[in-house]
Each structure stands twice: as structure tokens, then as C-alpha cells.
């Protein structure tokens, strides 16, 4: 292969789903020994592009060339054979098998001729050096189920190495890694590049891109909106490409000062961190952002407040009155509502109509003698549809047919049709496009102004800084610090998120915009 011939070449890739243009005219080139940073907001089309590269979905138009050969209809096995390996943000491991079996899955060394028995010794011998190279602290016999998320990520990377991939695509590889693990991963990327592998590095943590990328391309709304050469890469440049506007424009100040009472937590202990206690006060009329790394106990806190997970100890007071919450029904009765992280699994019943989703949590209010009054249901849900601008032909359509943003509005409509006193938002805009985000932020502000206490869990730094009135940061199960608005900065949040114990690392400093 000529040295300047690209390993991978995409030309004019487009992808349409019914009603949605997910990708439009995307060109992309990756050379051997190059690390290409791919940035873009959620919903910009990165995942669709990667699915096309993996042969999972066919492009609607455009050409894919790998190693100079054109693939008119790339399949999963062709992508693998052509040397493309993925390290996904959602891990694709069999956690009931051991590490060696996962790493060599589909390429197991065999013995016994026609009997096709697994050669476990050979498998171990092949996997052990790979793990060593990655600096893993576990062996090939370890069961994946017993590994941490970071360790599993290493298994995924070992899988790519074992396949001797020429193109490795890392999709949010560090989202759940500790700082030292992140540093090790980045040095590994440098090593891969030196070995002539092409790497596509997708992340929201722009600091990592600055550290390792040779070139950056940016997707927005399915289009390639720009590219940056090595010397042009900077936070500001990347953010400008990604969102194309000022960061702080999101913030609307509250109409008045936060009130007294609200939700007070004292010494609350959750199942995620049984020995750590959380103290937190969410005041009515404010939006309290809750930041922290994945796994720092934020979601567990919200689930405990809502009664999904049991509280192991401590007090919950609402407007001064002690609450005992052991199941969601009690939280709902008290006016504490949760907009969960996983909309489709926990927020909505996708097969029920908008009407039935909106009234689900408060159905007895629409019933007489236990029988549901459908007319009243429709009136109530229609009111929510109009006030929330839910884009649907009618309230009779199933919630599953709506787009992410509209689904989230249905979840909101469910709670707004009742009388919220505390709203817990867990990643409220994940997978939602920019326009709908703005609407949801405006709604949160309106709710707060009407006296609701709002807790917003978010891993999106832009969102946390742009929407919150105060930010509480969690680290390993406890609140490691509270920031007032004038003290907001990515560095401040991040320092608290990592527990203030380690020096900020060059590779992770200001990892978020």
C-alpha cells in the first residue's frame, strides 16, 4: 500500500431514516498512523456514522473504501475482516465468560482436529501478553462479570489488539475511567499510532483530543461542519464547530430568590455507597445541578429519593416534614417526581399512547368508582401536549413513535399534570437535539419559578454550568463540594468531581467544554 493512500475513505455518505436525515454528504479520511478526533454533540450523527463503518447499517448513499478497496454493501463480517475494530461506550462483552474467551471470541485457538475443542492454554498464552501491554491488573482467567467498567474497557481494547485491527474506533472510551486509567489509555493510543494503526477517537472530553489527536473533524446535525489540523486544535475552536454559539447563553436567572424549606437530606446513605452519607439541600425555586463522574452515586441518590432503591439510613425532609420513602408510590404521593435517565426503559411505556402515559401516574384522579373516564384523560393530556409543544398528530399515538425530545416531554407531561414539589431530573437531555433541549431548560426554569425544587443530574458540563443556579458535585458517594454561580468553571467542577485529591492532570484538565 502506498504510504499516502488512506486506510479508510468515506465519500458523500448519507443516511436517511423515515422522516429524519441522520447523515448528509459526509467525507472522511483516515491514514495509517493517524489519530482522528471525531467530535459533535449528541444526535449529531456520530453513532450512525460508526454503525455504517461497522457494517451494521447500510448508508443510503455514498462510498466506503477500506485499504483502497470499495465496499458497496459493507457487512459486519467484512468490516471485521477489513481490520476495523470498535471499542464501544456500551460494552459488548459476555460477562458470563472469562477474559480470554471474550478477547478471542470467534477466533478461539482449537485443538483436537475435527473435534474442534477449545485450546484454553493457547488462548491464555495469547491473551496474557496483550493484557500486560495494556497494563491490566487482571489475568486472562478473570471472569468479566467480576471486572470493573474500566477493566472491561481494557478487555474491549485487548479484543481489538487481538484482532490485529488496522483501524481502531474508540467511542467514548474514557467515559467511565479513572484519571490514571485515562492516562494509560491515552499513552496506549500514542503507542498504537506509532505502530501504524489508524485510530478514530470519539469523545466529549475535548482535553483528551488535544492530548492525542492529529486532526479533528466535527459533525453537526448529520453534516461535516469542519476540520481542524493539529496546530489549530483548541477547546474554543472545537466548541465553536460543535455548537456554533456562545456557551453561557443558556442561562436564565431565576425570577426570585429561592425560598425556604424544600428537600433536605441529612446523612442519607444509598446502596451504591453504603458507608458514605449525603447531605444536600434543594431549595424551592432553584435548579440545583448535580455533577460528578459516572458512578459517583448521583443516579443512585435520585433513585433512593424516589424510592426505587432503599435508603440505608439518614433523613429526608420535605418542607420541614420527615418523609419515609420505601417505594415510588410514596415519593409520588409526597410530590417528589423523577425524570429518569433511561427514558425508554423507565420513563415511558412505549406501547401505550401519549394519553395513557400522561395519566399513568395519577390515574385514580381520572377515575370514578375505579373506572377510568377517558374523556377527562384526553382533556388533560391534550392540555399537556399543547403547553409542552409535543409534536405528535394526536394524543392517541403510541409514545414509542415519538422522537427523543418529544418522548421526554411526555415524561414531563406526566408529572406536570400533577402537582410537583420536587423534580429530580437524571440526564434530562441525553439524546435530545439542541432545539428541544432549549425548550426543556425553559420548562425547568418555569417550574422552578413556580416554587418547585429542582435537582438536575447531568454529565454534560455545558448543561450543568449553563442551567444550574448552584452546582453540587459528587465524588464516590458523597457531596465533595458546592459551587455558587459566581464560582462556576469547568475546572472547579472537575476538581471536585475527582475528589480534589489528585493534581489535575495535563490530559484531563478541562476535559469538558
Amino acid at each position: 500500500m502506498a504510504p499516502d493512500l488512506p486506510l479508510l475513505e468515506l465519500e458523500g455518505i448519507g443516511k436517511s431514516y423515515p422522516g429524519v436525515r441522520a447523515l448528509d454528504g459526509v467525507d472522511l479520511r483516515l491514514h495509517a498512523g493517524e489519530v482522528l478526533g471525531l467530535v459533535g454533540e449528541n444526535g449529531a450523527g456520530k453513532s450512525t456514522l460508526m454503525k455504517i463503518l461497522g457494517g451494521v447499517v447500510p448508508p443510503s448513499e455514498g462510498r466506503v473504501r477500506i485499504g483502497g478497496r470499495e465496499y458497496p454493501a459493507l457487512t459486519v463480517s467484512e468490516a471485521g475482516a477489513a481490520g476495523i475494530a470498535f471499542v464501544h461506550q456500551e460494552l459488548n462483552l459476555f460477562d458470563n465468560l472469562d477474559v480470554a474467551s471474550n478477547v478471542l471470541f470467534g477466533r478461539e485457538p482449537l485443538r483436537g482436529g475435527p473435534l474442534r475443542l477449545l485450546d484454553r492454554a493457547a488462548a491464555r498464552a495469547r491473551v496474557a501478553p496483550l493484557l500486560q501491554r495494556l497494563g491490566a491488573d487482571f489475568g486472562p482467567d478473570a471472569r468479566v462479570a467480576e471486572l470493573s467498567i474500566a477493566q472491561r474497557q481494557l478487555v474491549e481494547i485487548a479484543k481489538a489488539l487481538a484482532a490485529e485491527a488496522r483501524i481502531i474506533i474508540l467511542d467514548e472510551p474514557t467515559s467511565s475511567l479513572t484519571l490514571s486509567e485515562t492516562a494509560r489509555l491515552l499513552s496506549l493510543v500514542h503507542e498504537l499510532r506509532a505502530g501504524g494503526t489508524g485510530v478514530i477517537y470519539i469523545t466529549h472530553r475535548l482535553g483528551e483530543i488535544i492530548d492525542c489527536a492529529d486532526r479533528v473533524v466535527c459533525l453537526r446535525d448529520g453534516r461535516m461542519v469542519g476540520a481542524l489540523a493539529r496546530e489549530e486544535i483548541s477547546h474554543a475552536a472545537m466548541i465553536r464547530l460543535m455548537i456554533g454559539r456562545d456557551l453561557r447563553s443558556l442561562y436564565t436567572p431565576p425570577a426570585r430568590a429561592p425560598g425556604e424549606g424544600g428537600l433536605e437530606l441529612r446523612g442519607l446513605r444509598t446502596t451504591a455507597f453504603p458507608e458514605r452519607a449525603v447531605d444536600l439541600h434543594i431549595r424551592p425555586g432553584e435548579i440545583l445541578g448535580l455533577a460528578g463522574l459516572v458512578g459517583s452515586g448521583r443516579t443512585s441518590l435520585a433513585r433512593t429519593l424516589f424510592g426505587i432503591d432503599p435508603a440505608l439510613g439518614g433523613d429526608i425532609r420535605l418542607h420541614g416534614k420527615a418523609l419515609r420513602i420505601t417505594e415510588p408510590a410514596q415519593a409520588v404521593a409526597a410530590g417528589i417526581y423523577l425524570v429518569p435517565e433511561d427514558r425508554k426503559a423507565a420513563g415511558l411505556v412505549l406501547d401505550l399512547s401519549i394519553v395513557q402515559n400522561v395519566t399513568l401516574a395519577n390515574l385514580p384522579a381520572y377515575a370514578r368508582l375505579g373506572l377510568v373516564d377517558r374523556a377527562r384523560e384526553e382533556v388533560a393530556s391534550e392540555a399537556q401536549r399543547q403547553s409542552l409543544h409535543i409534536k405528535a398528530p394526536s394524543c392517541a399515538v403510541k409514545a414509542g413513535t415519538l422522537s427523543g425530545g418529544n418522548q421526554q416531554k411526555v415524561v414531563l407531561g406526566k408529572w406536570l399534570s400533577m402537582s410537583p414539589r420536587v423534580m429530580l431530573f437524571d440526564e434530562p437531555t441525553r439524546g435530545i437535539d439542541v432545539g428541544a433541549r432549549g425548550e426543556i431548560y425553559a420548562l425547568m426554569r418555569k417550574l422552578a419559578d413556580s416554587g418547585v425544587a429542582i435537582l438536575m443530574i447531568s454529565s454534560d458540563m455545558e448543561e450543568v454550568i449553563g442551567v444550574s443556579d448552584r452546582i453540587a458535585v459528587m465524588h464516590e458517594g458523597r457531596v465533595s463540594g458546592m459551587l455558587e454561580r459566581n464560582a462556576f468553571s469547568e475546572q472547579a467542577v472537575l476538581r471536585l468531581a475527582i475528589g480534589q485529591t489528585e493534581e489535575t492532570h495535563a490530559g484531563t484538565e478541562a476535559a469538558h467544554p
Binding site: 431514516y17 423515515p18 422522516g19 429524519v20 441522520a22 449528541n42 444526535g43 449529531a44 456520530k46 453513532s47 450512525t48 454503525k51 447499517v57 424516589f306 426505587i308 417505594e327 415510588p328 408510590a329 415519593a331 409520588v332 404521593a333 423523577l338 429518569p340 426503559a345 423507565a346 420513563g347 415511558l348 411505556v349 412505549l350 406501547d351 401505550l352 395513557q356 399513568l360 401516574a361 390515574l363 385514580p364 377515575a367 375505579g370 373506572l371 377510568v372 409534536k391 405528535a392 398528530p393 399515538v397 414509542g400 413513535t401 415519538l402 422522537s403 427523543g404 418522548q407 406526566k414 439524546g431
Partner: protein, 330 residues
């Protein structure tokens, strides 16, 4: 009436029409009334099964429950000479209690419904056989006056078999419960997405246990009807396989074993179809040995047809849908 039920009704008419064309006696009053009687017998517990299936569960134990509750009923009436209203009440309560037990095991201990009720299938049958020392219990030597109960459970009113009337009443009540009440809505929500229902403040455990409780109660009611249909209970064979008839009726009627789908009308139509299939074997003089094969083939064809039609419908809806479909998740 949904498309599914319409399709099933159509299938009924086609099969009925073919049978009637081959042998007009199919539509004779006697035959129709006989069938109505059997539809009543099998419909009542199929509705219970359907409600459990809608929560995403299953009840494999009903057949064995019939044997156990059946021998107890005969024993209470014949040997203990209990007044019949009391005996019937005991059986209904016992059915409810067993249903509740299943429900609690499924919800509190998080055991799989299949496993819980499979164990029930084995246990109840075993207890029934031990209780009777493997003897058949019947009304052959009954002393007391059972005429009223016999009439209620197997007689006719205005020429219509009482089990069929009982089914109509049960179906009407359950249809209101399932399609109009808060509890019914909860059943569908829990069956479709238990997690989301729980996140909406619904006491999902209570809802699921409630479904098993209803299923148990209806199984108790069916026991009384079935015992008076056969007049005797042989503990080793009474009710054998009946859980499968119920599951088949529910599935034919549009219940998905994944939960959250199905209607009372559908389940009743499913029962009707199953009974027609058994009837036509006799009416057309098909060898009895082919009975199960005929039933299985028609169910399979029905399910395949339904699958194909709903897939076509889905594709059609997608291409016609003007609203943006959820974009692939990032």
C-alpha cells in the same frame, strides 16, 4: 373491536362455514348448545390465564389446581356433607389463596412465574392424588341434595347452558375491569414495562399479585363447573393439559407471552375457536387421534398469519407515518 379480534372472528366463521358445509349438523341446536357449554367451561379459566399473561406471567398450575380443588369439592359435598354454598365458597377462596400465593412468590421473592407455577402443577397434582389415595372421587354415591348446585353448574336457563351464561357474566366483568378500570390500565402498563410503571408510582407488585389472585379465583370457579360437567374427579388425569388449552386460547386471542397485550373478547374468541376445532373432529368424523394435531396446526397457522399481517401493518405505518420516527440513539 381491534383488527386482531376481527381476524380471529373471520377465521372462526371460515372454519365454522367449512365444517357446516361438510356436515350441516354442525349448526344443529344440540351441537351449538353443547359447544356453548364447553366454551363456558374453558372460557372462564382462559380469561384468568389471559389476565396473568397480560402481566407478562404465566400460570401452568391451573390443570392441577382443578384436580386438587376438584377432589376437595367432591369430598366436602359427599363425605363432609357441607351445604353447597359453603363448599363452593371454600373452593373459590382456596383458588384465590393459591393465586395469591403464586403472586407473592413471583413478586416478593422475584421467582419466575414459569417456575413457580410449574412447581404448583407438580405439587397440587401430587397432593390431590395423595389426598384421594389415587381413587376417583365422584357423586356416584352422593347422599345429600345437590340438585340446585348441579343445575347452577351444569344445567340450562332458557335453554342456554349455565356455564356459558357464567362465562358471559365473567367476561363482561373482566372486560370492564381490564379495559375500563384503573387496575386494568395498570395491568397493561406493568405487562409492557414494569420498570416504567414502577417509576410512575404504581405499586407493581400489588398489581401483579392481583392478576394471579384473579386467575386463581377464576380457576376455583372453573373447578366447580368442570367437576359438575364430569361428575367425578380422577386426581391423576382431571384437568391434565388444561393450562395449555388456556394458554392457547389466550395466545390465539391476541395475548403476547411478553405481556402487555390482549383483550377479553380475544380470549373468549380464542376459546371458541379451540372448542370448534375439537368439535369438528367429532362432527366430521376425523379420527380422534388427530385431535391434537388439528388443534396445533390451526393455532400455528393462526399465529403465523397474525405475525405476517401485523408486520405488514407495521411496515405500512412506517412508510406512511409523517411524524419523525425516533432517530437512532446516539
Amino acid at each position: 373491536m381491534s383488527k386482531k379480534e376481527l381476524g380471529l372472528g373471520l377465521l372462526l366463521i371460515v372454519i365454522g362455514g367449512i365444517t357446516a358445509a361438510l356436515n350441516p349438523l354442525f349448526l344443529s341446536g344440540t351441537n351449538l348448545l353443547n359447544m356453548a357449554n364447553l366454551i363456558g367451561l374453558f372460557g372462564v379459566f382462559s380469561i384468568g390465564q389471559g389476565i396473568i399473561i397480560i402481566t407478562g406471567g404465566i400460570d401452568l398450575s391451573v390443570g392441577s389446581m382443578f384436580a386438587l380443588l376438584g377432589v376437595i369439592l367432591v369430598d366436602l359435598l359427599v363425605n363432609f356433607e357441607l351445604p353447597w354454598p359453603l363448599a363452593v365458597l371454600v373452593i373459590l377462596a382456596a383458588g384465590v389463596a393459591l393465586g395469591l400465593l403464586h403472586g407473592l412468590l413471583v413478586t416478593r421473592l422475584r421467582l419466575q412465574p414459569f417456575v413457580v407455577t410449574l412447581c404448583g402443577l407438580l405439587i397440587y397434582r401430587g397432593i390431590a392424588r395423595y389426598y384421594t389415595q389415587d381413587g376417583t372421587m365422584g357423586f356416584g354415591y352422593a347422599a345429600g341434595d345437590l340438585d340446585t348446585l348441579t343445575w347452577l353448574a351444569s344445567g340450562r336457563s332458557f335453554g342456554v347452558p349455565n356455564p356459558f351464561i357464567i362465562l358471559l357474566v365473567v367476561a363482561a366483568c373482566m372486560a370492564v375491569l381490564l379495559h375500563r378500570s384503573v387496575f386494568g390500565r395498570y395491568l397493561y402498563a406493568v405487562g409492557r414495562n414494569e420498570e416504567a410503571a414502577r417509576h410512575s408510582g404504581i405499586r407493581t407488585n400489588a398489581v401483579i399479585a392481583g392478576a394471579y389472585l384473579i386467575g386463581g379465583g377464576l380457576a376455583g370457579l372453573s373447578t366447580v363447573l368442570l367437576v359438575f360437567y364430569t361428575s367425578s374427579v380422577s386426581p391423576s388425569s382431571f384437568g391434565n393439559f388444561y393450562e395449555l388449552y388456556a394458554i392457547a386460547a389466550a395466545v390465539l386471542g391476541g395475548c403476547s407471552l411478553r405481556g402487555g397485550e390482549g383483550s377479553i373478547l380475544g380470549i373468549v374468541l380464542g376459546t371458541v375457536l379451540l372448542q370448534i376445532l375439537q368439535n369438528l373432529v367429532n362432527i366430521l368424523g376425523i379420527p380422534s387421534s388427530l385431535n391434537f394435531a388439528v388443534m396445533g396446526s390451526v393455532i400455528l397457522l393462526g399465529v403465523i398469519a397474525d405475525q405476517q399481517l401485523s408486520r405488514r401493518k407495521q411496515v405500512g405505518a412506517l412508510s406512511r407515518s409523517p411524524a419523525p420516527v425516533a432517530s437512532p440513539a446516539e
